[in-house]
Symmetry: C2
Subunit: 605 residues, 2 copies
């Protein structure tokens, strides 16, 4: 099993831990300390040894920051996590406050004298983040002070050992380009920009650049590492020696040097002494490295991680892999949905049993490396909680007359998948069908969009919202995120959202996942992955247009679809999509599920 | 007549003028000089005495900049104006180059030594513009040097006298709020932001704030002036005394002081000596004022012109005025379109005759103060030139089998209008009808949009493009611009465009003008003005949505509409709109045009 359902939060221990931290801060003469949910790589998922915020507060959400002072503490989270934070953190220890309405600066103003300094670990905050914090806290007269070592690490007993999972090569048949070729491109850019080197801190960039995969982070096949790529010469990969087995050491040694993570600071020092111009991404690189470089005389050159855009634009081998992974994933989803249709309304299936069943269906392919994120298996009202994850204690049983929402994905060697379906358990109400129809319209509006070069994600996001806006409804998340190639399931820079300012390029993969959430009743989300297609002629047109190829191959629940709610082009798209799902999935499906698939993909309207 | 059709360009004189300017530059030891199309107020329309670029180059477009060196000169314009610039400027004197592909910095690099300085008039360039220029020219090793007086003014013989049109009060029945009330809001903001004063440089802001209108600029009822509003106390209006007649002097004197324009620099000096914090809009204020303030010890506080957003959100009186102005304008357009239907295919009507006829129809209301911009009266292929303006020399005759595009507007005391219609002259081709239908779909997609608070113009612009994108077509301008209330026909900050990052607010007025342009054949543009309506409940919805009320009341050409190309909601919108136009316009139309209106608004589909 790739996922566990225990509630890992242990707020009972927080009292002792906060006290210990306060003692530690006093001994270091610090008035306070910031504890963010982050590691040195700004990963979405943390390795257990980096879960400092959860260890201290009990809060296990994926974003938030605690501030601990000598006599007070607060936990700041955004709207997605406010209920979870209140449930998990001990309110006698932490004021739980919602950002952006609550501001750390205002909270601190009331608690500290002007001119006081609050400590932070420069390994855990990015350059931009510290800039912003310095400005906002500065208005409140509070200073920020970097610490040499994280005080939590000094008091955290039984801290999990860092993972030492071995790295493996990511074969050329999946990667499509050699590491040497990619490195050459990065070096060309560095020379153009007159930088002497770039320090890479994002784990998926490092995995992509060197065509390696690792096992240090849950659901994301990367290894904890840093890398320096010089404008000329061999890159250095800073990684625990134990992770580099004989099978990869030789191959990697052909184009890079391997060094211990401890050696990184020494290398930065050397760059500083050589007065090198070193590129760092201010949005993702810990400020620690910028400080170290500048202290030694290097020039810190701000610039986006040079791997990010190239990684987002998938090449032919990666696209081929994505199609194969989605066919395999479609088979698993068909097996799962057939099972749900059979037993979902029996009153014997709970959210965890369903999630495990789906994981088993994916595993049957023999090629599943991991799931791509903790499965959102949400019965009835839990579907309305966008980031819901079932736990052993809080799980719900699927019941007739409700909706069931399942958002899940797989990590396969040839691709990463992410799919959401909402299905009726028993007979749906007319209102469920009306809302499902609106979300389906939103989904089809994106799937069928055509658009010229230069179009940004934010230009398309409104197409998904229009059917909902017309009905006085909306959803409070973006319409889609970028997806990696056997890498992170949430990958930038492309996204379909109000904030999606990056232009879409052929080869990018994005999710298309509009939703509607009726609090305390049900949630509906319909998610396929899309591939951006190259500009193409349209009969009678004068300009070539890009578009989307839908990669996901999973039927939509026909019981929730009222053809009368759809217009002809929507029905045509749906029938063509279902015909394609049947054509592609049926031949590789075991015979007992074929009848289900044929029924699930039958003509509508 | 409010417009003239003579070609005002006189490139024949450019040779002498460029030589005179080069002599003047040498005498001042300047290597070169920038001549932008702008005045001290960043107006869209310039007063004749500010037309330095046209005087020097012959180019009369509304955007562009010339650079004159000792032995070379270039004229930089954007894509809209490249053909016009090539036609108007003497190619033996000016290299005509298209931005943004051509860059002034690259051009200068080849011509000047590193470290050379190019002069500019700090009264004509904004703070932001000089920042950007300093950066881009800096990369090429070129410096910028402000001049104390514009060298063109020293050599321009027979320069037109500045206008001395009197200012008039803008009555409370139209303005809806007293000047005192508006000034109080500005002062509250200044105190909140801890600024001691704001310097206003935009003419429509000054006219709006003090409830005055003027006659110094073509088609825009404003007076050349500056104003300083202190955080406490009385504002000062810097304006030629001749413009302030007895009828307004007393009323204005109740809440402001009047001073001569020459007194402004002295006042800035005094603010500097008082170490005042003075707010200036970096996007619109000439850098000259920031330089003067800082030289004297003031602190320049960057911040948006505090009138801009308030001015854009129309109050009840302004909305009432807009509706009345549009009804009046609809009557004029109906009279005009009826006439075009009658004589348009006779071969006797040219573009100028049509524009004059429309101006006459508007004048019949007895309330027309001016037209709101030079009429785009474009027959056949001229319609494909987005910024076309007919001239006595180049005018075209309306011919059967073609399309005619007319984009025009009026300035009335209660509102500013702007409307575009495209009509068939004789029988249209199937292709004309297909393209017209696509533009109509685009128009209706905007007119019918519903959207939540927080929606920006850029979120709606794609709705207009989608029908065109699906057909492999697009248009190269924004979908809509803000419109003033008896003020500028192009008003910020709201806009429907890729660049529209400002959130829409109830009471804003915007144009809705998608188009399609088939080069050398025809242009189609359909423009109504829209009023943003307040958030409103929708049956079955959970969130209130804003929307648009269409203000313009002019039929669309039924001969160009193929009902089969439209979907039911589009036909329903069109029929409801036409019924409303008939209901509102018919009672105030003279009887001989009523039959035309009834036919033009008859049921479709």
């Amino acid at each position: 099993m790739y996922q566990i359902f225990d509630d890992v939060s242990s707020p009972g221990a927080s009292g002792e831990r906060v006290k210990a931290l306060q003692r530690e801060l006093r001994s270091r003469k610090l008035k306070g300390f910031l504890v963010p949910h982050s590691d040195e790589h700004q990963d979405e998922f943390l390795s257990p040894s980096a879960e400092r915020l959860a260890w201290l507060t009990g809060f296990t959400g994926s974003a938030g920051v605690a501030i601990v002072l000598d006599k007070a503490a607060a936990l700041f989270v955004d709207g997605r996590y406010i209920l979870q934070a209140r449930a998990q953190a001990d309110a006698t220890l932490f004021e739980v406050l919602q950002t952006p309405e609550a501001k750390a600066s205002s909270w601190l103003t009331g608690k500290l004298n002007k001119g006081s300094a609050v400590g932070y670990d420069p390994a855990l905050h990015t350059i931009k983040e510290v800039e912003r914090l310095t400005e906002t806290l500065g208005k409140a007269g509070i200073k920020l002070e970097p610490v040499a070592a994280n005080p939590i690490d000094a008091i955290w007993q039984e801290r999990p050992k860092p993972s030492s999972a071995p790295i493996v090569p990511h074969g050329l048949e999946f990667a499509g380009r050699s590491a040497q070729d990619k490195i050459r491109d990065v070096q060309t850019l560095l020379r153009q920009e007159k930088a002497d080197a770039v320090l890479l801190t994002m784990l998926d960039s490092i995995a992509w650049l060197f065509n390696i995969r690792g096992g240090d982070i849950r659901h994301m096949p990367v290894a904890l590492a840093f890398a320096i790529v010089p404008a000329n010469g061999r890159p250095t990969l800073f990684i625990e020696a134990a992770k580099v087995g004989g099978n990869v050491r030789g191959d990697l040694g052909e184009f890079l040097d391997i060094a211990a993570p401890d050696a990184l600071m020494g290398k930065l020092k050397a760059l500083g002494q050589a007065k090198a111009r070193v590129r760092l991404d201010p949005e993702t690189a810990p400020i620690r490295f910028a400080q170290a470089l500048e202290a030694e005389g290097a020039k810190f050159v701000p610039g986006a991680d040079p791997c990010v855009l190239s990684k987002a634009i998938k090449n032919a081998a990666e696209i081929k892999g994505a199609r194969a992974a989605h066919l395999r994933d479609g088979v698993a989803m068909a097996r799962f949905l057939a099972w749900i249709d059979e037993v979902g309304d029996s009153g014997r299936i709970d959210e965890i049993a369903a999630a495990i069943r789906l994981e088993d269906c994916r595993r049957e392919s023999g090629q599943l490396k991991d799931i791509s994120f903790d499965t959102i298996s949400a019965a009835g009202p839990n579907g309305a909680i966008v980031h819901y994850r079932p736990t052993t204690k809080g799980k719900r049983t699927l019941k007739a007359g409700s909706l069931y929402l399942i958002d899940s994905g797989g990590q396969y060697p040839d691709g990463t998948t992410d799919v959401t379906r909402t299905v009726a358990i028993g007979a749906p109400t007319p209102e469920m069908r009306r809302h499902y129809g609106l979300v389906l319209k939103a989904h089809i509006a994106i799937a069928t969009a055509r658009f010229p070069k230069g179009t940004r994600g934010q230009d398309l996001d409104p197409f998904a919202r229009r059917p909902l806006w017309e009905a006085g409804l909306d959803f409070d998340h973006g319409t889609g995120h970028g997806v990696g190639s056997y890498l992170s399931v949430h990958e930038g820079p492309q996204r379909l959202s109000r904030l999606g300012t990056v232009e879409l390029e052929p080869g990018m993969i994005l999710s298309n996942e509009p939703g509607f959430y009726r609090e305390d009743h049900y949630g509906i989300r319909l998610e396929n992955l899309l591939l951006v297609t190259p500009p193409d002629k349209i009969a009678g047109g004068t300009r070539e247009m890009m578009g989307f190829e839908t990669l996901t191959l999973v039927p939509f629940d026909r019981r929730l679809i009222d053809a009368k709610q759809l217009v002809p082009f929507e029905i045509a798209w749906l029938n063509a999509y279902h015909a394609r799902v049947r054509r592609e999935v049926e031949p590789v499906l075991l015979s007992d599920d074929r009848a289900w698939l044929r029924h699930a993909t039958a003509h509508i309207g």
